[in-house]
């Protein structure tokens, strides 16, 4: 039976069998407070006024929908790029942090914590904390601090404290563990701004709603540029899945729109060095949510791999696990090398240097099967400045 809506989880936060709130008792009051209040706060006209104003004047929304003519010619279809890379701070992440900082203020919180992988969510969090004058602590895996150094410096410049996560693979998963442990230790004054559609209910729904501005704008812009609000394809990369959730949201219940979620295959699906959760994962619990999860047969969470720090996560948001299980979204995985070639292609054909995460979505263009009369929207989730060191290191792959 096809559900009537893919958008909304149940009262207990389930999308089909995925979601929920598997949290220790220490987190229960915090998560309950958020769960009981988030919908009311999001619907409050005063909140909406402030949120929309900040999206316009601070973030720079609406972001353009750009027709990529040279890419279109190459792939013989009509390609539009949703320019989230033009958001203040260089990626879609700030849509969520602007909303959550306003939410945190209304919950009376004075201290903000966040996790970050590529550093974009960390920067977006540090930015809104500076804007609102709130204390900000960002947890980041020490491996990621090394490979995304410019973002570490940006966070520090913005007044945030960056704390290295030194356990496990020292990447996004471990940074999230440390942020959760911080929240356990600071249950009263602290709000945890999760950066993706992961974590215990209501986070996946909260973050999806705050990112849904992306597809809301897409529909209006498509109507203007193509005469129809609905494209044939919407393509986005998925680590935890926040930019994909935002890009898919207002198309979820439009069956004519094909949703394409692009995961990082790393060195290859079967190489043992991959982050393609929809292929390699099975149902399990990570960071308070039941979802598809990369794990060994004993239920220990395994270390994912992707050259891209933002896709290097062993789970996916429960909404995406549900879309995969229901066949509502098609999942494609792209290897490091292919993503690097897409960086070069987009840079040289369109004059836009994409983030390495985003390049995975661009690299899926060749696999869509889109025809000349189809409209394809790619969510250009972030810009590539932060990845310059990586791009220099792999210059041979890129040329």
């Amino acid at each position: 039976m096809t559900p009537t809506t893919y958008k909304e989880p149940t009262a207990r936060g389930y999308y089909g069998q995925f979601g929920g709130a598997f949290i220790p008792e220490m987190l229960y009051p915090n998560v309950e407070e958020l769960r009981d209040n988030y919908l009311t706060i999001l619907a409050d006209p005063e909140f909406q006024r402030e949120y929309q104003q900040l999206l316009r004047d601070f973030v720079g929304r609406p972001t353009p929908l750009f027709e990529a003519k040279r890419l279109s010619k190459k792939y013989n279809t009509r390609i539009f790029l949703k320019r989230e890379d033009l958001c203040h701070t260089g990626a879609h992440k700030v849509n969520n942090t602007v909303g959550q900082i306003l939410l945190a203020q209304r919950l009376g919180k004075t201290r903000i914590i966040a996790e970050t992988g590529a550093g974009q969510h960390g920067v977006a969090t540090a930015t809104v904390c500076a804007l609102m004058g709130m204390e900000c602590i960002v947890y980041m895996g020490s491996v990621d601090m090394e490979r995304q150094r410019p973002n570490v410096e940006r966070m520090r410049l913005l007044g945030a404290e960056v704390r290295p996560a030194t356990s496990g693979s020292q990447t996004l998963k471990d940074a999230t563990n440390e942020a959760i442990r911080d929240w356990i230790s600071n249950p009263v004054d602290t709000h945890y701004i999760i950066g993706s559609v992961v974590g215990p209910h209501p986070y996946p729904d909260l973050v999806a709603r705050l990112q849904s501005i992306i597809s809301e704008e897409m529909r209006k812009q498509l109507l203007e540029k193509t005469g129809s609000e609905l494209p044939q394809y919407v393509v986005a990369c998925v680590g935890g899945g926040s930019n994909a959730a935002g890009a898919f949201y207002h198309f979820l219940d439009e069956p004519s729109v094909q949703l394409i979620a692009v995961e990082a295959a790393g060195h290859g699906i079967t190489s043992g060095h991959s982050a393609a959760t929809s292929v390699l994962g099975k149902p399990g619990i990570i960071h308070g949510s039941r979802t598809l999860l990369m794990q060994d047969e004993d239920g220990q969470i395994t270390e994912p791999y992707s050259l891209s720090a933002g896709l290097d996560y062993p789970g996916i948001g429960p909404l995406h696990a549900y879309l995969a299980a229901e066949g509502r979204a098609r999942f494609i995985s792209i290897e490091d090398e292919t993503a690097l070639r897409a960086v070069a292609e987009c840079s040289r054909l369109e004059g836009i240097i994409p983030a390495l995460e985003t390049a995975h979505a661009l690299a899926a263009l060749g696999e869509l099967g889109a025809g000349p009369n189809d409209v394809v929207v790619i969510n250009l989730s972030g810009r590539g400045d932060k990845d310059l060191e990586t791009y220099m290191k792999y210059a041979d792959s890129i040329k």
Binding site: G20, F22, P24, I184, I285, G288, E297, D298, G299
Partner: protein, 282 residues
């Protein structure tokens, strides 16, 4: 004709008697015959070496520990501080998993007949093992209770309570300073073993950073609720002084990280475990 009927009657009586014994499991017995405060100790299975589990367990009980929690190591233990995280990593590297643990515990009740044994860990490894399989194996080994901090109450009631009951395994739930009174009552209703009072904000093994009196007021508040289950206080209990302080407000206390620290890098883990328990009790 009379003889078989009597035998059947005897069988019914025996079953009822055994049923009572089972329903009233070792955890409840430990609290019932209590004439002193109880020391509950936690250690990680397969730490510091894979085959230390049973020797450490025996040493702990011989030295006077009243309840034993065996930690089932998990790769991402969210409620735990660095000490238990590290011991979990080592145990996993040693090759510990659910199958190995149940094999190690197979004959434990021949050697440790009375001391309550609980398994503590996270839901995901239990789910992957299969909740029913887990309960069956645990019950067969003579385990009395299970602590899964990330198992939500509602999910427990809807999906697992029936299975736990069938195998006479007692769940133990955590209560924190932030847990609302109505929720404490509900947890108390769902429990027939003991309540695990988390001493303050933070993960396991943390220092107590609360202002003087804040913690005592919380313990007192819980005591005044006159709950039906006994209470053990855990998190941040590390030595004789903190154990005795916690015991003023509860039937006993739980020590984990401090014991793990005492086992770190020693050649003879059972001897170190024994020394540690003695240092708390004597």
């Amino acid at each position: 004709m009379r003889k078989p009927r009597n035998l059947r009657a005897l069988g019914v009586t025996l079953r009822a008697y055994c049923g009572n014994l089972i329903m009233n499991n070792r955890i409840q017995q430990a609290f019932q015959k209590q004439d002193k405060k109880l020391l509950n100790v936690y250690f990680t299975a397969g730490y510091p070496r894979l085959h230390d589990t049973v020797p450490v367990l025996k040493a702990l009980t011989a030295a006077g520990a009243d309840l034993i929690e065996i930690g089932m190591p998990f790769s991402d233990p969210l409620a735990d501080g660095p000490v238990i995280q590290q011991s979990s990593t080592v145990a996993l590297q040693n090759g510990m998993n659910m199958r190995v643990l149940f094999t190690q515990l197979k004959d434990i009740r021949n050697e440790v007949p009375e001391t309550p044994i609980l398994l503590m860990g996270y839901l995901n490894p239990v789910m992957q093992f299969g909740v029913e399989n887990f309960c069956r194996e645990a019950a067969a080994a003579g385990v009395d209770g299970v602590i899964l901090p990330d198992l939500p109450l509602d999910d427990y009631v809807d999906e697992y309570q029936e299975i736990f009951r069938r195998y006479n395994l007692k769940p133990v739930f955590l209560i924190t300073p932030q847990t609302a009174p109505a929720r404490i009552r509900r947890i108390d209703e769902l429990t027939d073993s003991f309540l695990y009072l988390v001493s303050g904000p933070g993960t396991t093994g943390g220092a107590n950073t609360q202002a003087e009196g804040v913690q005592d007021a919380y313990f007192q508040r819980i005591e005044d609720m006159q709950l039906r289950n006994p209470r053990l206080i855990g998190f941040g209990i590390a030595d004789k002084a903190s154990f005795q302080h916690a015991c003023q407000y509860a039937e006993g206390a739980i020590i984990g990280s401090a014991l793990i620290k005492a086992l770190d890098g020693v050649d003879d883990a059972p001897a170190a475990a024994s020394r540690f328990v003695s240092s708390v009790l004597n």
